[in-house]
């Protein structure tokens, strides 16, 4: 049915192209505001039933070419919409009534289309650029966190400009990607994150302050115009555009500091020795404390000859003289944030422009990690003729990131400051008395598991990742007739990544190989072209808007990488000086997508709205038998408050109902996952080798996402209370799953369509004007989302676990930033299930750790997965934010809270920190103070035991329910206080148009039960182990407009 419509539409559009239309005439007019009777600039005027329109200038004036006797639709945000019959008049004056309604707010819907909020039939949320202005965040997604219902945004770690994750209405895919489609000024971004040496974000290229608005298409109906890329929702970002009038110059500067949110309280040297001594005694019950102290001092490198003859008191005397060194505070630091911006914006009759340039730097709260970015962007609009309009946008950026030692995603790397800080044995000195580094590799390294002086490593290693990016688009708007517009565009997202990791020969890690250098050079070329015809027509009370288009995208990536070792001295940092080339590689990968799409919006009397969308997509990623997929949707809405029975109701000012059903697709898998391939690199004895690494699946097809959704938009008491409620039921079918096959076949998995995940949710947004007087305003906005996420099916042939719970569980790889992580999926439970043994505490008689076996009996030894239980999920099912804005005269104060509940996750760093003496690492003071020491003692911290596992017992330093914690939190995310100087004062200067000073604090307060550094992190392979935690920032800035 829909295909037929689409087909007819295309034919219709082609046939219309040739038709002629009536002669135009020009009318002029002026629009004023009911507030003060003054001119209303920026109001939009359109000829009803056409795409023809204009906006008023600074004096509220406009002129517009119109055919015949048109009806003009005049609207402006914050004012009631008005329709005016022009008749034969050639000038008109209209006053618009002010209201709190946002029904006339312009919503960007894709492919050059805009709708007023009144006309939207799907679930679309919008953030205005002004809401996130000057938040010290390097990427726009970070600034969006907590601001929209149904959109969950989390940062992978606290690295500035680091990886983020955006999940719209839950998680639908297991193995395929869950990232939404990002579109910046029409450019569909390549959101693949491939930087090897720094945690990065593909939208770092954009200065968040350049953003005019962000529209998030949340339900399948709204998103389905993007078909196969839209299963995870669509984020449309529009950058600032020049407006007609005098050229505006704006300077903006802020600077501030970055601070760690939290430090752990860890043992001093005496406590540490005592704990290890106990551990040795407990593991060797026949030995004396003297012997145990000798063991520990031996570890601390006291020569055996010296200590062998000493008694317990003398040994303790040595221990008492040990100094404690605070490695954690050496690893973490107070860093700096700086941001400089300048923008020029303006335009005339035929053109408009907006230029901006910025420089931003931010340090992480961990040594050696930083972010620097320079951006420049230009947006132009040029009217070539009455029928032709040219639009162009170009964003250039260069970003340099100082990467984290060993891995951008953290991990238990011995040279990593973020990991080593709290666990370093505290007796190790950082510096010698003369200020040089202590515990260098030459001197044998530091004592203990963390044997690297990681402060030295951070100082001497040079880890950088440079991303140079060009994101540009050009569009031609051709108004063939007043009803029909053709809009072809070309778009490019071009990126070069240059990573380099130079490990100085003086660094422990590279000492034995005399220095190591690794590099990554990558180029990614994402080219997109499309052309869309738009047709609008009005007959009587009926109005039709139709769109049809074709699109082609080619996204390819190629690169080289290599590693060499053996550098003469630390002064030689390029591979030309290296003695051994240890690795060398190059690659190419890519995919193509070709699509046809169409959309028909119909409304009756601007009260009943219906929208039909269809998209037909082909992707090279799929099996030869299933290259193409069709994704239709239907949605409708009813503006109830415009009905006679409600119009003018004093209580219920606004009421709109929406409902939709739609289907979208997902193809976020490897470019060649459907193919059976022999790959190279399986070399042996300097002979090249090829090996088969993947099973062919010529039937591989689209993962399909269907969603039924409904919404209610309301305004009460003249919109003093307003907002919306949404419900949805989203089902992801034919998942692109890494299905396991018997390894006896020589393979472990095949990419296979199987399984099902459901997300059902409720979302609420409510905004209240708590106070609203001429000088004092307090607006409070609250949003809330709850999701019931469930894996409902895996694949046929998977057996339940062989234990009493008999859960059907699949451990599958999940895309996480620049890597993949294996996670558990259990039928009937939310995604990312924790599946681990349950800790039963400490036997008060012996101090031994105990667990429950599968039947609930207390045991000393557990087996995984036999004794494992489902222990919640690493999926936050409740999240949202609360924003308060109070303005009084020139002051405004914003306080923004963000919250997340329901997430349980393994505190992998905590596994290291509960290590009470099993090996040579430091531990938390609270663990030390509560360790079992005497029979009868009731505690949940086992006695220290060298080696960790008691005889016939499991190690108590492992990921069990002991370290799976509630990661829920509420956070005062942002507080901003700003003062805008009065216009009256500024006009006297004759130069200054606008001066605003502001102070912003982020992550000021956090309420959580989480015991690690910070509950906000994502598992990108190592959990929170060695991940850079979030930081607090305090910034102060000034904005000047000329």
């Amino acid at each position: 049915m829909i295909r037929k419509l689409l087909f007819n539409l295309i034919l219709m559009l082609f046939s219309i192209m040739g038709s002629s239309y009536a002669q135009d005439r020009v009318i002029t007019g002026r629009i004023t505001s009911s507030d003060d009777g003054g001119p209303l600039p920026g109001a939009s005027i359109s000829v009803k039933g056409t795409t023809r329109g204009t906006t008023t200038d600074a004096d509220g004036k406009f002129s517009l070419a119109v055919p015949g006797k048109p009806t003009l639709v005049i609207s402006s945000i914050g004012f009631s919409r008005q329709e005016v019959e022009v008749g034969n008049r050639s000038t008109i004056t209209v006053q618009l009534q002010s209201t709190n309604s946002d029904l006339e707010e312009v919503i960007v819907t894709g492919y050059g289309g805009v709708l007023s909020k009144r006309e939207v039939t799907g679930a679309v949320s919008k953030i205005k650029g002004t809401d996130i202005q000057n938040v010290p965040a390097q990427s726009i997604d970070r600034a969006m966190q907590g601001r929209i219902s149904g959109v969950q945004i989390s940062s992978a770690n606290g690295a500035p400009g680091g990886a983020m994750q955006v999940r719209i209405r839950g998680v639908g895919s297991i193995t395929a990607g869950n990232e939404p489609l990002y579109i910046v000024d029409g450019v569909q971004l390549n959101t693949q994150n491939t930087n090897s040496y720094a945690s990065s974000n593909p939208i770092n290229f954009l200065n968040p302050n350049d953003v005019e608005s962000i529209e998030v298409l949340k339900d399948a109906a709204a998103a389905s115009i993007y078909g196969s890329q839209a299963a995870n929702g669509v984020v449309i970002i529009t950058t600032k555009k020049g407006k007609a009038g005098r050229t505006q110059v704006k300077f903006n500067y802020y600077q501030g500091v970055v601070e760690p949110i939290k430090y752990f309280d860890v043992l001093n040297s005496q406590q540490w020795v005592n704990m290890r001594t106990e551990a040795f005694m407990n593991a060797n019950p026949t030995q004396s404390r003297t012997w145990a102290l000798q063991q520990v001092l031996g570890i601390l490198r006291y020569p055996a000859a010296t200590i062998a003859s000493l008694g317990e008191n003398q040994l303790q005397g040595i221990v008492d003289t040990l100094k404690t060194y605070d490695w954690q505070r050496a690893a973490m630091r107070t860093g700096r944030v700086q941001n400089y911006e300048v923008s020029l914006s303006g335009g005339g009759e035929r053109n408009n422009f907006h230029f901006s340039s910025s420089y931003n730097t931010q340090d992480a709260n961990v040594v050696g990690v930083y972010f620097k970015r320079f951006t420049s962007s230009l947006r132009l609009g040029q009217k070539l003729s009455d029928k032709l309009q040219f639009e162009q946008s170009i964003n250039l950026s260069t970003t340099t990131q100082g990467g984290q030692y060993a891995s951008p995603n953290g991990g238990s790397f011995l040279g990593s400051a973020a990991f080593g800080g709290p666990v370093m044995v505290p007796t190790n000195a950082i510096y010698n008395a003369d200020g040089t580094y202590a515990n260098t590799p030459q001197s044998g390294g530091a004592v203990g598991v963390v044997s690297h002086n990681f402060i030295l490593s951070a100082d001497y290693a040079k880890i950088t990742s440079i991303t140079n990016q060009l994101v540009g688009s050009a569009a031609l708007v051709y108004r063939i007739t007043p009803q029909l517009t053709f809009r072809p565009t070309v778009n490019l997202d071009y990126r070069i990544i240059k990573g380099n990791y130079y490990a100085d020969p003086r660094i422990q890690d590279a000492y034995s190989v005399q220095g190591r250098d690794s590099f990554q050079n990558e180029e990614s070329i994402n080219f997109l072209t499309n052309g869309a015809l738009t047709y609008s027509h009005q007959f009587g009370e009926h109005s039709i808007n139709a769109l049809a288009g074709l699109e082609y995208r080619s996204d390819t990536r190629n690169g080289t990488s290599g590693t060499a070792t053996g550098f003469p001295t630390s002064d030689f940092q390029y591979i030309s000086a290296a003695a051994n080339y240890t690795a060398m590689s190059s690659f190419w990968t890519g995919y193509h997508r070709a699509s046809a799409f169409g959309k028909i919006d119909y409304n009756y009397n601007s009260r009943y709205f219906l929208s039909l969308i269809g998209r037909y997509d082909g992707s090279s990623r799929f099996g030869a038998n299933n290259l193409f997929g069709f994704f239709p949707s239907i949605s409708g809405s009813w503006l109830v408050s415009d009905e006679a029975f409600l119009k003018g109701n004093p209580v219920l000012t606004e009421l709109k109902l929406r409902a939709s059903f739609g289907s979208t697709g997902n193809d976020q898998i490897g470019n060649f996952d459907s193919r059976g391939l022999y790959v190279g690199g399986a070399n042996y004895n300097a002979g090249s080798g090829i090996a088969v690494t993947s099973l062919a699946n010529p039937d591989l097809k689209w993962e399909r996402n269907t969603e039924i959704a409904a919404g209610l938009e309301y305004g009460i008491f003249n919109n003093r209370i307003r907002g919306q409620f949404d419900v949805y039921d989203r089902t992801s079918n034919d998942l692109l799953l890494q299905r396991q096959v018997p390894n006896t076949s020589g393979f472990t998995t095949i990419t296979f369509n199987a399984g099902q995940v459901k997300n059902r949710g409720f979302e609420a947004e409510i905004t209240v004007d708590v106070l609203k007087t001429s000088s004092l305003r307090w607006e409070s906005s609250f949003n809330f989302s709850v999701i019931d996420n469930k894996v409902t099916k895996l694949y046929d042939g998977i057996s339940p676990q062989a234990n009493v719970d008999s859960l059907v569980l699949l451990t599958a790889p999940v895309q996480a930033g620049n890597t993949t992580v294996t996670r558990n999926f259990i039928v009937g439970k939310p995604v990312y299930a924790n599946y681990a043994p349950v800790y039963a505490g400490v036997n008060p008689a012996t101090g031994r750790a105990m667990w429950y076996d599968q039947n609930g009996n207390i045991v000393y030894t557990y087996q995984t997965p036999r004794d494992s239980k489902y222990l919640g999920s690493d999926f936050a099912n409740i999240y949202g934010g609360w924003r308060n804005q109070i303005s009084y005269k020139g002051f405004d104060l914003t306080a923004f809270f963000q919250y997340e509940f329901g997430r349980r996750v393994n505190n992998s760093q905590g596994v290291f920190l509960i290590d009470d003496g099993t090996r040579n690492v430091n531990t938390l003071t609270s663990v030390y103070n509560n360790r079992w020491t005497t029979p009868g003692q009731i505690t949940d911290i086992p006695r220290p035991y060298n080696g960790g596992a008691e005889i016939q017992g499991s190690s108590y330093i492992s990921a069990t329910s002991r370290t799976i914690e509630d990661a829920s939190y509420i956070r005062l995310k942002q507080v901003q206080l700003a003062y805008t100087f009065p216009k009256a004062l500024l006009t006297r200067t004759k130069i200054l148009q606008n001066v605003r000073v502001y102070a912003v604090a982020t992550n000021l307060l956090t309420w959580t039960k989480w015991t690690g550094y910070d509950p906000e992190f994502l598992n990108f392979g190592s959990g929170n182990t060695g991940a850079i935690p979030q930081s607090k920032t305090y910034t102060f800035g000034v904005e000047i407009g000329l």
Partner: protein, 483 residues
């Protein structure tokens, strides 16, 4: 309107717009890989595919580390130091902490099977065909043997109540989903029969292969040597002795004298090796899991000032005591193999005596070729086989070949269990830290006397656990007892 028609309309409109040529635009071929269905159609490709089978052995799960280190630490030779906390659970014989060679061995087996399937279809000379076939069968036999060592009882010591059979036999290549089978476990003997059959063919097909191909590649001598070992494990003593004799005469591997033996461990290729897994510079396993880092903190001999690896597994007191059990009148240790152990550094905690059999002998730290079969084993295999066959005099002769070469005195008059125990003791000393000990104790059905606690032969943990995912995805496959 059906989909087909829609596609036609779509294609037409694409042409109309001039934006698209045709829908084949969405056909993108990988440039760094080739289609598996047509990959093995030339001699060059087959040759490269054979290399990939050897390459599979380099995995950390196989000869990269585990097949060498884990049998030491599971048994009474190796003690985990807890320096990096790696292999501690294996040392403690925690359930499930064992060999995990299942997946990687079957991966290699499939690569070999695909070559074997392709051989009749590709244009090759007879010499090429025989060589490829011989190599693949040798490697397949080695991989099945390694699987059987971990996951099944050995024919000479079976606990019938716990016995769940051998490992599934997959003998033809898999490229597509319909070819993926759900096999059950055959009997132990069936698998050993298959391994010996593969080796018999391999010995035949490798007849024309030059000895100089060894020890990095399969040779006839290597296949004979492996046959001798498999037969010993299978209790086929006459065959074990016979193939040991053939292997000794094959010219592959050079039995070292007392004066050159220790030096043989300092060169990239051990002159004793009949088959060893080669590692190139780019294949360095690195500081976490290479054999060098696993066994020693040293970077160079005698230099305790510079710390390299973790030294996670060091000799037990019992092993050192055995090495030092025979001394001259002055109290000096006689056994020259003791020279392969020395004091490590203090860099990772307490100083320990560590083995230096893997010390970056390929010229770079953490880079060592890994001997799989050394010629000395042939004497010890044969000694044991002769003993089992009642030929004690011949057994003592072979035993003394090893003893005198090691600097020990000739034994005379040993008989019965005492003789067997001395042969097993020499096996322990000769192959310590080469991945033999656990299997020798297992095939003899002996309890393992060790710290922190003993592991009786009757304990289920003697067998490795088949990967859980394997059981979940193949209903025909039985897990080992009590896992």
């Amino acid at each position: 309107m059906n989909t087909h028609m829609f596609k036609r309309v779509l294609a037409t409109s694409m042409l109309t717009c001039g934006l698209f040529a045709c829908s084949s635009l969405v056909d993108v071929k990988p440039k760094t890989a080739i289609d598996s269905s047509t990959a093995l159609t030339s001699q060059e490709a087959v040759n490269a595919a054979v290399n990939a089978v050897y390459d599979a052995l380099q995995s950390t799960d196989l000869y990269g580390r585990d097949l060498i280190a884990i049998p030491e630490v599971l048994s009474d030779n190796g003690r985990a130091t807890n320096n990096s906390s790696r292999l501690v659970a294996e040392y403690q014989n925690q359930p499930g902490s064992h060999l995990i060679n299942w997946t990687q061995d079957y991966y290699g087996i499939n690569q070999a099977n695909l070559v074997l399937d392709a051989l009749p279809k590709v244009t090759l000379t007879d010499a090429q065909r025989n060589s490829y076939m011989g190599q693949c069968l040798f490697l397949r036999a080695l991989m099945y043997f390694d699987l059987m060592k971990s996951y099944a009882y050995m024919p000479t010591a079976i606990i019938p109540e716990y016995n769940r059979g051998g490992v599934p036999l997959s003998l033809s290549g898999v490229l597509t989903l319909p070819q993926v089978l759900f096999p059950s476990r055959p009997g132990i003997d069936e698998v050993y029969t298959q391994i010996l059959a593969d080796l018999t063919t391999a010995i035949d097909k490798l007849g024309a292969t030059a000895n100089s191909r060894g020890p990095a590649y399969a040779t006839k001598g290597a296949a004979q040597a492996l046959y001798s070992r498999v037969a010993l494990y299978a209790g086929k003593y006459q065959e074990s002795a016979d193939f040991a004799t053939s292997a000794l005469a094959s010219g592959v591997g050079t039995f070292q004298s007392k004066t050159t033996y220790v030096a043989g461990w300092r060169t990239a290729v051990n002159p004793e090796s009949m088959f060893e897994v080669n590692f190139q510079t780019s294949e360095n396993i690195g500081v976490n899991t290479s054999l060098q880092t696993t066994f020693t903190t040293l970077v160079t001999l005698g230099n305790t000032a510079t710390t390299g690896g973790f030294g996670d597994v060091v000799p037990t007191a019992a092993l050192l005591a055995d090495l030092e059990s025979e001394k001259d009148a002055a109290g000096n240790v006689l056994d020259i193999r003791r020279q392969l152990y020395e004091l490590g550094t203090k860099g990772r905690g307490a100083q320990n005596i560590e083995t230096t059999k893997f010390l970056g002998k390929n010229g770079t730290i953490n880079l060592d070729n890994v001997p799989v079969i050394r010629i000395s084993e042939m004497y010890l295999n044969r000694a044991e086989a002769y003993y089992r066959l009642g030929r004690e005099a011949d057994a003592i002769k072979d035993l003394n070949t090893i003893r005198t070469r090691s600097g020990l005195t000739e034994k005379t008059g040993l008989t019965g269990t005492a003789l067997l125990d001395e042969i097993i003791k020499q096996r322990r000393l000769e192959f310590a830290f080469e991945g033999h000990r656990f299997w020798d104790l297992k095939r003899l059905g002996r309890d393992i006397v060790k710290l922190p606690t003993n592991l009786p032969f009757t304990d289920y943990r003697v067998l490795a656990r088949i990967p859980i995912s394997e059981i979940n995805n193949n209903r025909n496959l039985k897990q080992n007892y009590n896992y």
